[in-house]
Subunit: 401 residues, 2 copies
């Protein structure tokens, strides 16, 4: 008992998450052998590792395919010491609670079972931020929609359509909160979700959930935290790093039944997510595009080498997600239009229009994730439908009805 509302395992894992980088196999093997509370004591140098635990530790490491040296633990403990002084697990837990969040741990009933497929790479814990705490849905109901940061207008349009179609089928869209395709996946999910959707979108961050990174997506990530969830395996205050981005990709893949890459260059981080998904036996979809567009070259690479299935719309993605998605597909067919007859782009635009002040076309393009010609065309349609109007200052706003 640690005298707080948190369990001993939560506190220990919160501390270990600060001590260890994601997928630190030595540390994770120690936790598997000794349990989190004892592992924390050993890792911080408070207790010696007994021979029985040490044997179990070596066995776990050996079984995971690592070449094991007997002094590997001693070396690791030395490595971890630099961070022992910074341990303040109760403060971290309090931070996440202030955001209406919590810390999920494998011992909890709410732990996403799909993460066990990561084996030794299963995260120590997940820091969760969300104003309406809901469970992370089972893998069958989750689809990852990912892609490059430098997306084209084609990529963002297709992303919005796919995310919207998945959410309309009751599925959850997971992505990484980055610029470009990721952001548009979250936007497309949020703009389409009805009030009764359990969880339209889930952002998996490479930094602490108390931070909005990248800064330009602050407004969007705030909305994800309001109407969806932000999760991370690194504790509050942590900065993102290249290593953490790549590790984050494995979580996106593991949480989802399908990973769809909408746009990716020949070398792109999104391909690492697809690669993780394939290794985990999850379905991978790739959206084709112009062979003249370098932003589709990574998708075509996945298609060509047989790593991905060609998907062209939400229905084809849902088909990859399997029976659950197909069941809701039927339900979906009986529902009246969720879009009030508007295309997703126009919903995104409508969502970006201020009610009182006005906004410029350039700003609307940024907020809605649309191209400038796309915004102009959309404003024309919304104006005709009586949903948008010009303000006196020449900008645009929602029209009161």
């Amino acid at each position: 008992m640690n005298g707080s509302v948190w369990s001993d395992e939560q506190v220990a894992r919160a501390a270990l998450a600060r001590l260890l980088e994601p997928s630190d196999n030595v540390g994770l093997a120690l936790v598997a052998a000794a349990g989190p509370v004892e592992a924390l004591r050993i890792a911080t140098g408070g207790t010696n590792c007994g021979p029985q635990v040490h044997r179990a530790f070596l066995e776990v490491l050996d079984a995971s395919g690592h070449r094991v040296r007997t002094d590997v633990l001693t070396h690791a403990i030395g490595r971890w010491q630099t961070r022992v002084g910074a341990l303040a697990p109760l403060r971290d837990l309090e931070t996440v609670r202030r955001f209406g969040g919590t810390l999920l741990i494998p011992e909890s009933d709410w732990w996403p079972a799909a993460l066990a497929d990561l084996q030794l790479g299963e995260p120590l814990c997940l820091w969760v931020r969300g104003e309406n705490p809901v469970a992370i849905p089972s893998q069958q109901r989750v689809v990852a929609v990912v892609g490059s940061r430098d997306s084209t207008s084609y990529g963002t349009a297709v992303t919005a359509e796919i995310a919207a179609g998945l959410v309309a089928r009751g599925l959850t869209v997971v992505s990484g909160g980055a610029y470009g395709i990721d952001a548009q996946a979250h936007r497309g999910a949020l703009v389409t979700a009805r009030e009764d959707h359990p969880l339209p979108t889930l952002g998996v961050l490479a930094c602490g959930v108390d931070r909005y990174y990248p800064a330009g997506n602050e407004g969007l990530l705030r909305e994800v935290a309001q109407r969806g969830l932000l999760i991370s395996e690194v504790p509050p205050g942590s900065s993102p790093s290249r290593y953490r981005f790549l590790q984050r990709n494995r979580l996106i893949a593991a949480l989802s039944s399908v990973t769809v890459v909408v746009e990716a260059r020949w070398r792109s981080g999104a391909l690492s997510t697809a690669h993780h998904a394939a290794l985990l036996g999850r379905a991978v979809g790739a959206v084709p595009g112009s062979v003249q567009s370098p932003n589709s070259a990574g998708c075509h690479r996945l298609l060509r080498d047989g790593s991905a299935i060609c998907v062209t719309d939400a229905a084809e993605v849902a088909e990859l997600a399997g029976p659950f998605a197909l069941e809701t597909e039927k339900k979906h067919a009986e529902l009246p239009s969720l879009h009030d007859g508007l295309v997703v782009e126009d919903l995104l635009l409508l969502d970006a229009l201020p009610v009182r002040a006005s906004s410029t076309v350039d700003k609307l393009a940024t907020v809605a994730g649309l191209s400038v010609p796309g915004v102009l065309a959309g404003l024309g349609r919304l104006e005709t439908d009586g949903l948008a109007q010009r303000a006196d200052d020449g900008g645009w706003r929602k029209r009161h009805r």
Copy 2:
């Protein structure tokens, strides 16, 4: 002996080609059992079918998986009688010879061995038209580039690039001579081929090789006959029909090591060529495109159901063609640029520019198979390079150098 320069087998097969539609399995089984000369006599009612030949005939038909009724031959002979009066094989052979062509038959050394893969569907003969009679290259050196008639500017641009790249590697581009993708495949091949290329392109027609169909492609088909070959399994004077188009597709697939579909709608004749290629164990490639373009929906369908490999350029197509193409790839890499530094579109445009008279932008677009904006952009580049100039009447012509 028939008193002409043609062999008895050529004359008999020429006559049978007039009597039987392509893939008339009953007639082809009769030819297999009795040989062409005797088969013609039986088919025209000049000789009864002896019991030995009839047994062999039924065995061939049976082995090909047809449900055989013993009176099937009697019925077929009745069916063929309507055409007996029109038989004039020596006249047909003379027609094709006037065009510098010939009649290839399976008994000939020049017969494309790959056609045997069609089994009972192997054509009776091939009517060949070409000013420089050359052999049809072995399957390993032939790639089919096919697609819809209603192509987009994206489709024609990619087609020209792929055809040009294949010809630059010493391969032969086969297509069907239709509008759209087919025409651009022939054009891209012709415009790139150096003088020493054995056979840049091969057009497989659904009508007689004495006809240019469709009429709008007359100039192009004439050039294919001049610098490549036109072939058909139906005799001179024959009109194309829906049935003959579909049968023609099986020849395109059988002659090629790879069939590439560049653009095809969800239901498109080009998919039948791909289907034939797959049934024959040939490689099938599909070029991806925008998921918003209905003209790419057929390609994405092939990719999605695993019937085709994703190909984005000539190098990837050549890889599917196998070792021969890879060998010439090396050779190709050592060659200086075949394009004088021009992109294929500009070569096509340069080729379409008249030397003396002048041409309008619209006409250039039609002849070169380019979009109007593509022609305007290309004229700008050619003018800068000193290769094109405006005529006094406002049109465009080649610039003398």
